[in-house]
Symmetry: C3
Subunit: 153 residues, 3 copies
């Protein structure tokens, strides 16, 4: 099964790939690795969530934000590679969660992104992960994700 | 001398490799690089330290936590590669230190991990490092470490 | 045009490459990738800026700090490779901005570094970027940058 048909089966439509608003690019390929820029939970060019976990946002809303952010990242990957079937492995998900003092459930929030990667890519979606609590994130976003992807030869 | 005998000489027993508690994996290999997930200072499946530097923990306790976390990371590397003798180089140590306002001695804390890497691997243990102050870390951990390792061909 | 003559044209003199003050190294090469350690805005061996964005420092001062930090990083790259002409691509800029509560303009601050990379390297300087708000950084620095560079074969 192709990844595109898997996405259909899951009822997922990828958002438009976000455009960087400064002198950087969405993704760079170096050898067999593709690095994405830090990606926010954007919807139609605007951040769809605002606030910190442990204050303005519940864990459930944080998970939704993580899901949306990882779909934005995948849409960058597709734009770069032409097709998500070129992904050999999701190597790395770094997840920054804007955290109010005392909020320590970053892993639960990021499961929103991790579970989706595995649902879409199966074994190839099983990634390493770092779950981190940021003091602040751009535009007041609750989530910023970075992906490193291994590309099929 | 093998790394195993070096560990014995230093009186170090590696802890059991921590198991991820969600849809991610402890390590992924991509070409000659091995990436580990973010690793906490775990002992027998439980976090052995809690609290922030500059508040609940002294620099000395933070160094102990950094040492324990890096041993957890090495035990993941051993589990993935079969033997620590397959390590060509420790490329990268990213160290996140949960920091109370005004705490700026992240480098001193991370020396606990850096010094141990060099004691164990010699020149091959001399790594690049980023020392960062996190707002919060999972489970209230004072330390989270990530490793990138180059594997012998 | 060589990168050295481009630097002259831009009126830029690279600072002395900062020396790590502990058991780590400024850069490690693994295959075609060069990783730098986290780099602060140092001038003649001392941090040239102190404080947080959104409190002690304006965005403009933060941009100056970002420019100085990225020049320190490039001076490490030059020291490792012999010449900046060996840079095939700036793959990745990770930018940590020490952020007081409510400061969310990390991207604007990091443009100081991103714009300079593109001014110096042209297309090869167009990188992926993550803009992050740190709770605290070493020595009270407002900025810490990490680079991943692809090296010409």
């Amino acid at each position: 099964m192709t990844i595109e048909s898997k996405l259909k089966e899951l009822g997922i439509a990828l958002p438009t790939a976000p455009k960087p608003v400064a002198n950087y690019v969405p993704a760079v390929r170096a050898g067999e690795l593709l690095f994405t820029s830090g990606v926010l939970p954007m919807k139609e060019g605007k951040p769809a969530f605002e606030g910190k976990l442990g204050k303005e946002l519940t864990v459930e809303l944080g998970q939704e934000a993580a899901r949306l952010a990882v779909l934005n990242a995948l849409s960058i990957v597709k734009q770069e590679l032409g097709s998500l079937d070129k992904v050999a492995r999701i190597v790395r998900l770094t997840g920054h969660v804007a955290s109010a003092p005392g909020f320590t459930q970053q892993p639960a929030v990021l499961n929103g992104a991790s579970d989706l990667l595995v649902a879409i890519f199966g074994e190839a979606g099983r990634h390493t992960r770092a779950a981190l609590g940021a003091a602040e994130l751009p535009l007041g976003s609750p989530i910023e994700l970075e992906l490193i992807v291994q590309i099929r030869p």
